[in-house]
Amino acid sequence: MASRGRGRGRGRGRFGGGFGYAKQEPFVLFPEIELPDAKAVKVEKFLVLQNSRLQRFWRSSPYYLEETVLKKGQNMDIERYSDRKKPKTTWERDSLDQILQFGCQNFPKELEGGLNVVRRRKKVRWNQSADPLDVLEQKEREDNENPKSKLEGQGEKENEEEEEEEDEAVEDDGEYSDDGDYEQNIDFDDDEDDFNMVDDGDGM
């Protein structure tokens, strides 16, 4: 095997021209090399400044993703001396959704999937604010329907009480009853403070 390999090498050297055995040279430990002048290299402060500025921006921007963001209340450990180097205040980054513009074929739909809920909400609000007259009409309808819906939602006893109150109001409008406080309930609330009665201004 070895002899075959050597033969091949010789063949190449003969016909290729120039591929022979390497010429041995004496080994020098530290050869003299001419180095470029270090003082001639220009220090470009603008580049350094801009680079650090950009890096600072990215680090504080929403683009810098971190594994877990601990809120203040979440850290249940006892404060240790080794924690002194940790940042005490965690500033809140903006979310990615605020900057990224979805829906204009910038991003694949597969990646936009998780953010659909927020977009739907925004869309609904926008539609409501678009036609103010419709909104007002809807509010009116809701106001008309609200008392009924409230009655439906509450218990039967409360319904009865309210009906009684309504009846009283109708009676007040129609004819005056002489019964005084007799018809009123025991816990009737007439918005008066029973313990601190207001003076009539007699000066007594």
């Binding site: 801009q50 950009l54 990646l111």
Partner: protein, 169 residues
């Protein structure tokens, strides 16, 4: 094909700029070639939301390109086929949306300050601010650029449009 050291440099740049999570996704894409979202999640062992966010971010900064080529038929490509896509992405059409790292764009991130320096020689500060915004955010719509200029400098709408129309390269 990117060499090992090239990948290391690119990962270092991404780590410096966007953090470990994004760098992990980016490295996975560079070492394994074009991948689907499911495969990235599987290989990186991160949560799907983390992978989604980091991919969105990389696409925003033009470090990753997503693409989908549709063809009639419903046979999903095999894993070996996906690994072949490293070399022949556009020759073999497939069904699933994939992402692909743009290696040169990542290395260009080191030259951002040089771009700004060159631009400052030929254009005024307003143009410099606009380019800086684009470099910081990767891609911005016209409206976003207006908003940003208003917020940072308080410039009027007129000056910005003027620089867009008259002084643009």
């Amino acid at each position: 094909m990117v060499s090992q050291h090239g990948i290391k440099v690119a990962v270092h740049i991404i780590t410096k700029h966007f953090g470990n999570l994004v760098a992990k996704v980016c490295e996975c894409l560079m070492r394994r070639g074009a991948l689907t979202l499911q495969n990235i999640v599987r290989y990186t062992q991160l949560t799907p939301t983390q992978v989604k966010n980091s991919l969105l971010l990389l696409i925003q900064h033009n470090c990753v390109q997503s693409f989908i080529l549709e063809e009639p038929g419903n046979c999903p490509p095999s894993p070996t086929f996906l690994s072949l896509l490293v070399f022949c992405v556009f020759l073999f059409p497939f069904l699933w949306p994939c992402t692909w790292v743009l290696f040169d764009n990542i290395l260009h991130r080191l030259r951002f300050s040089k771009f700004l320096a060159l631009l400052s020689l030929h254009f005024d500060k307003l143009c410099l601010d606009l380019l800086e915004g684009l470099l910081q955010h990767g891609r911005l719509s016209l409206q976003q650029m207006f908003d940003r200029a208003h917020q940072t400098e308080g410039k009027s709408f007129f000056f910005i449009t003027y620089s867009f129309t008259c002084k643009g390269p």
